[in-house]
Symmetry: C2
């Protein structure tokens, strides 16, 4: 953190976004790339991504004999979910009832797509720095006919931990962080947001229910309210940190679905990861490059230092 | 690749770099942060990083009882290696004899640091987009008292492949790519650069010797010449692709050192990875964000399409 920085500096201010842009395919009433017209929606709005990375009918690449040249069809669907009809709001600026509508829609999509697909990845890329190609508040939902790498790894680690230690990993972890109060960013009766002990991104957080919950679909009405409230507080803290609309990628991980709905998934605990790219200021990011790509991720700040920064009063 | 892009656009032209900048701590004759004065060097120059991420005497974090709260001291050294006395050159612009001096110095550092440290990571972050904080041509060398994650994974996969298939993974792979000629970018008598079958970054390449070589230190004089030549050709191709000094992170992986020097490392094949961030043009990068961070990396272009782009004649 003491190195002089003469490297890349990010643009500090995003261009002012109008509430409604007649050329933005995510706004109500506008026409999208495929010719469809968006309804005049009032809260959330879900549609099929017009440029999907996954498609239900991806062709089979055929049989590959050699172990070094293996490929398989990746099939699925990609949806886009607008959070709000206005382009100039973000989740922390929305009202609690409107955030609850987002959570309810997430759960609804998990039921729908999860009925057949083994993995449904809900994720939000926020801010130009995180590759977001449209400023309208939205997230994406990609459902696949396979368990992606991160899901497989998370499943394996949680399964092994339960076997060895007799308790779900993240349930035990949440309890211990709640007791220690060293890395807790925000908390309420049902939820906890911490900078995880093993964080690699400087301001990374992990959002967890306190109760053992395997999937978004299992949250009670009260837990959904509590989630809306803790998300608003967490994201407001992020925005306050450097006095900007804080960029991040976030996403939900819960027990796999589709054929896995019939299996025991006791080892799973629902959680959301927040991965923000910033390090020193609104314009100097952490670059996960050379050593990180080729050897191992390395932190510039410990989680405990980060918590301290986040609690520093701002002028 | 067909999505409209209204996301972040990178600065196309880097500011013109002077051949010698009296304020740049990497230039010959200048004073560094610790007060030391650089010699008037003629080719390469190696010094200790003044802001090292690894230190030989990192304190022991003490014993952690709980399995979820484990930490260990990461000890090591971080060196910086300048490639050339001038700030306004890059490897592809250097002469072959000067590139050979870089390769010889790499091998020398591997001998020195590798005599005790199990892993010596040589890597170059090139370009502001890849977090490079100083425009002077240089790489870094971080030696650690542990095998980093990527090294552990690479070791495990190569070991398992040899056990199952009776031949080192990357030796067999290089032979097959040389035969197929579908993903080869450049080649000569001793070396091969391919867009690997499993590439995730659009213009990612893998640079391999054709002979079974475990470490940089085992390269013959002829192989070092061939390496200088293929690096110059590969990096010139990169620069020509979008007509800019092409950004990337690159690094060498070879058999581990220190205590591992005494063990059988037949499964290892030396190789270098090149990870460039660009996707569509000099100013639109591939963002490895949301789905990639939370689920699995996904490609926008197949390796075969990339080869085709790279061979397209430029005006
Ligand atoms: O050492 P530098 O060039 O100051 O820093 C660069 O490389 C390091 C090692 O890959 C990264 O940890 C930093 O994020 C990056 O900015
Ligand atoms: O889908 P978008 O917003 O066009 O694209 C963004 O998210 C995708 C999924 O994380 C990434 O693959 C793209 O690189 C990124 O720019």
């Amino acid at each position: 953190m003491k190195r002089p920085w003469s490297g890349q500096v990010e643009k500090e201010e995003e261009d002012r976004v109008p509430q409604h842009d007649p050329n933005n395919p995510l706004c109500p009433g506008n026409t999208r790339a495929n010719g469809e017209v968006n309804p005049d929606y009032n809260n959330t709005y879900v549609f099929e991504n017009d440029f999907p990375a996954l498609q239900p009918d991806a062709p089979d690449p055929g049989f590959n004999q050699h172990p070094l040249f293996q490929s398989k069809a990746a099939r699925g669907v990609c949806k886009v979910m607008c959070f709000h009809p206005w382009s100039d709001v973000t989740l922390p600026l929305m009202t609690l009832p409107d955030i609850i509508k987002v959570i309810d829609k997430w759960a609804e999509l998990m039921v729908d797509l999860g009925s057949t697909y083994p993995w449904v990845q809900i994720f939000e890329n926020k801010g130009a720095m995180m590759g977001c190609s449209n400023p309208h508040p939205h997230c994406q939902v990609w459902a696949s006919n396979f368990l992606p790498n991160e899901a497989t790894l998370s499943d394996r680690c949680q399964r092994e931990y339960l076997k060895t230690h007799g308790e779900p990993l993240l349930l035990q972890y949440a309890k211990m962080e709640a007791e220690r109060q060293e890395r807790v960013v925000v908390q309420n009766a049902d939820w906890l947001a911490v900078v995880p002990y093993w964080a690699t991104w400087p301001f990374q957080t992990l959002l967890l229910p306190r109760r053992h919950v395997q999937r978004l679909t299992n949250l009670t009405a009260q837990e959904r309210e509590g989630l809306a409230s803790i998300m608003k507080r967490l994201l407001t803290k992020y925005d306050n940190l450097f006095q900007i609309s804080f960029p991040y990628s976030m996403g939900w991980h819960g027990a796999p679905t589709g054929p896995y709905l019939k299996e025991d998934q006791f080892h799973w605990q629902l959680h959301a990861h927040y991965y923000p790219p910033l390090l020193r200021s609104a314009s100097v990011r952490k670059f996960m490059v050379g050593y990180e790509m080729l050897a191992q991720e390395q932190r510039d700040l410990t989680p405990e230092q980060v918590i301290h920064l986040g609690n520093r009063p701002r002028l």
